[in-house]
Amino acid sequence: MMADRRRVNGPSGGTRPAVFASLAESGTGVSERAQRQRQPSELRKIFLKTGLIPTASGSSYLEFEPSASLAAARINPKSLIPPSSALKLACTVHGPKPLPRSAAFSPNLVLTTHVKYAPFAARKRRGHIRDASERDLGVHLETALRGAIIAERWPKSGLDITITILEAEDDRWWADAPDSHDASWGMMNVLAGCITAASAAIADAHIDCLDLVAGGVAALVSDEEKQSSAAPKLMLDADPAEHRSIVSACVVAYMPARDEITELWLKGDSSKASLENGDKRSVHEALLDGAVDAARGAHTVLAEAVRESLLKTVG
C-alpha cells in the first residue's frame, strides 16, 4: 500500500498492538467479565451538553455513564486493560449554508453526515480514512435525521453534521474470542448515541424539526453457557461487554410526539429465539418495543439539554 504522504506515517514495517500475558495464557482468571448492574429496563445515564463549540452553528457533546466495572477500574486501577468502555462523542452542525455553485438545484435542505472514529476510539487502532463501517453509520444517521428535519424550509441549502467519536463501545467482552454470532454490536449503541447527540446539535443550531429524535437500543442477550438452555432476555441499552452473547439487537430513531420511527436497524438472528414465558409478542416486536422505550428514556435527557441550551441563548 502506498503510504499516505499527507500524514505522518509510522514505521514502514508496521507495528503490532501489545499482547498481554493475561490474554495469552487464558484460564488464569485474572479478570472476570463485567456484570450488568442495572435492571433490564434501566438505561445508562447520559451526559449531554450543547453549544460547546462556538464556531459551529450548533454542537453537542454526549457521554454515557461508565459501567460499574469501568468506574471501579478508574478509581482503583489494577490492570491496563479496561473492562469496558463508555461512549464519548462530539457532534457539530454547520449550516444551513448555501450550496456550492456547482451543485444541482435542490428544493430541500441537503443533509450531509460524517461519522468518524478517532484513531484511539476503540481497542483496535482505527485508520485516519473513514472505513466502510463509519460510512455505514453516516448513512444510518442521515436517514434518522432526514425524517425529523423540515427540509423544505431551506431550499438550495446544505447542512453538514459531523460526529467525532472519541471513545466507542466494545463489540464484545475483550477476552472473548470472536465467534460466529458475533457482529459489531457496539456500533448499534454508537448509532443511538449519534442520533441523540445530532438531534441536540440540530436544535442548538435552531433548525426546524418535527420533534426531537432520540436513539434507543434494545438487545436480546443470553448469559448462559449453552445457547439453547434458556430463553434470551430482553435488555435495554445493553453494553456488549457485559454479556456473553447477543442474539439480536435493534436500534431505533424515535420521535415521541408523533410516535414515529425514522430509522430502524435490526441485526442478528432472532427467528429461533423465543421470549420468556407469558410473553406473547413476537421477538421482533419485543425488541422494537424495547428500543422505543430506550429512545423515550434518551428523549427526556435530550429535551432537558435542549431546554438548557435555549435558556442560555435567551438569558
Binding site: V8, P11, A21, L80, D160
Partner: protein
C-alpha cells in the same frame, strides 16, 4: 460576546447606528483598532476586542487520562479552542526493521554503556546519548503525531477530506518539535532482552571486557549483553474538537499533557512464542520520563496600517533607513497580541511562536522560535516575548501539574 459589546459602546457607538457585533463583522480591522487605541480623551486602557490585555492568554484548562483505550490522553481547552490528544503505544519488532541488523551490532555496546552511565549521573547526559536518541527515535519513526482538523471544528474544513494544509503543517510542527526538544527518551521506548547465561567461562570473559569499558561497581546482573528486541511506537493523535484560533498552542499542550499521562506496560521478549508479551499489571507499568516541559506560546501582530512598512520600500523617496525606523517605532502602530483568537488571527499577517522551557535556576531556555509573515517584530520585541512566554510557562506548569 457580552464583553466586546460593553467595551465598544463608549468608543464607537455615537457615530454609528450599527450594533458593535455588526460593526465587528463589517469593519473588523477598524473595530479592533478602535479597541486597541481608544481616543486619549476617553481615558480607557488599550484592550483587545475580546476584553483581554495584549499580553494576556485565554483561560486554560487541562484534564488527563479520561479516555479508556489510550495509554495516555488529555483534553486541553484554551478559551474556545479544544484539543483532545490520545497516545497509543504499539510494538515495533526489530525483525520488522529492514535496516536493523546493520545498526544493531554497532549500537548494542554503546547502549549498554549509556544505560549504566545513566544510573550514576542522571543529569549529565553525554553527546553519544543525544546522537543515539536521535538515531532511534527519528530514523525509526517511533513518534507518530497526527493532527486532525476534519472534526467539524470550524466551518472551513470539510470532514472526510484529506488533511488540509494547516493540519499537515501542524502535524509536522508537532513532530519536529518532539524531535528537536528531545522530549522523549529513546530508552523509555526500548524493549530489552537478556539472553540466559551461556556458562560461567563465557560470563567471566565477558565480565572482564565489560569492566574495562565502564567504571566498576555495577552489579553482576548487568554483565550479560542485552539486546534490543523491539521498540514502543507512540501514535500521538490530536483531534481539534473546536477551533477558535491558535491551534498549535492547544495541540502542543494536549500532546504534552497526554505524554505526561502515558504509561507503558512492562514488556519482555518471550522466547517460546518469539514475540513480545506485556504485563497488564498497572503497578509494573512505567511512565515516560520526559525531558523538561516545553511550553508553546503563540503571538500575532496587529498593525494599525499594515501597508506602511511596504510603502516605505516600494516608494523610493523614503530612502532614509532611520526615518523609516522612526516611523515604525512611532507611538502604538502595532500591537503584539498573545494567544490570538480566530478573529484576531484573521486580521494579522505576522505570527510568532516561541517554545520555552525553564532551567533549574529559573532562566528561560528557548527551544524554538518561529516568526513569519512580516517584519515589524524586532529583537527587542522578541526579547519581551520570551519574557511573556516565561510567565506563560509558569502558568502552564501549574495547570499541567494539577491535571
Amino acid at each position: 460576546m457580552a464583553t466586546p459589546a460593553a467595551n465598544a459602546a463608549p468608543s464607537v457607538s455615537p457615530s454609528l447606528s450599527l450594533p458593535p457585533s455588526q460593526f465587528a463583522r463589517l469593519q473588523p480591522h477598524a473595530y479592533l483598532l478602535a479597541h486597541l487605541s481608544p481616543p486619549p480623551a476617553s481615558n480607557q486602557p488599550s484592550i483587545r476586542a475580546n476584553g483581554r490585555a495584549p499580553s494576556q492568554f485565554r483561560v486554560t484548562s487541562a484534564n488527563a487520562g479520561s479516555l479508556t483505550h489510550t495509554n495516555g490522553s488529555a483534553v486541553v481547552r484554551i478559551g474556545d479552542t479544544t484539543a483532545v490528544c490520545g497516545v497509543r503505544a504499539e510494538i515495533l519488532h526489530t525483525d520488522d526493521i529492514a535496516s536493523w541488523s546493520v545498526s544493531s551490532s554497532s549500537t548494542s555496546n554503546s547502549n549498554k554503556r549509556r544505560r549504566l552511565g545513566e544510573k550514576t549521573t542522571d543529569e549529565d547526559e553525554g553527546q553519544d546519548e543525544n546522537e543515539e536518541d536521535r538515531a532511534h527515535i527519528e530514523d525509526l519513526n517511533l513518534l507518530v503525531p497526527n493532527l486532525s482538523l476534519s472534526t467539524g471544528c470550524a466551518p472551513g474544513f470539510t470532514p472526510g477530506a484529506p488533511p488540509s494544509a494547516l493540519a499537515q503543517s501542524l502535524s509536522h510542527q508537532i513532530l519536529s518539535l518532539l524531535h528537536s526538544t528531545r522530549l522523549i527518551r529513546a530508552d523509555d521506548l526500548r524493549i530489552w532482552y537478556q539472553p540466559p547465561n551461556l556458562g560461567s567461562e563465557a560470563l567471566e570473559r565477558h565480565n572482564e571486557s565489560q569492566q574495562m569499558e565502564i567504571d566498576a561497581g555495577q552489579g553482576s546482573e548487568e554483565s550479560d549483553p542485552q539486546e534490543i528486541k523491539a521498540f514502543w511506537v507512540l501514535y500521538i493523535d490530536v483531534m481539534i474538537i473546536s477551533l477558535a484560533g491558535n491551534p498549535f498552542d492547544a495541540a502542543w499542550a494536549a500532546v504534552l499533557a497526554a505524554l505526561r499521562d502515558t504509561k507503558l506496560p512492562k514488556a519482555w521478549w518471550d522466547i517460546d512464542n518469539e514475540t513480545i508479551i506485556c504485563s497488564d499489571d498497572i503497578s509494573e507499568a512505567s511512565r515516560l520520563s520526559l525531558r523538561g516541559l516545553p511550553v508553546a506560546s503563540s503571538f500575532c501582530v496587529f498593525e494599525a496600517d499594515a501597508a506602511a512598512g511596504w510603502r516605505a520600500v516600494v516608494i523610493p523617496d523614503v530612502n532614509d533607513q532611520k526615518a523609516q525606523n522612526q516611523r515604525k517605532k512611532g507611538p502604538q502602530q502595532k500591537w503584539i497580541l498573545a494567544d490570538p483568537d480566530g478573529y484576531e488571527e484573521g486580521l494579522s499577517q505576522e505570527r510568532a511562536t516561541l517554545v520555552v522551557d525553564k532551567a533549574k535556576n529559573g532562566k528561560n531556555v528557548i527551544l524554538k522560535m518561529e516568526k513569519h509573515g512580516g517584519w515589524s517584530v524586532d529583537t527587542e520585541d522578541l526579547r519581551q516575548l520570551v519574557e511573556i512566554s516565561g510567565q506563560r510557562w509558569d502558568e502552564m506548569k501549574r495547570i499541567l501539574d494539577q491535571c
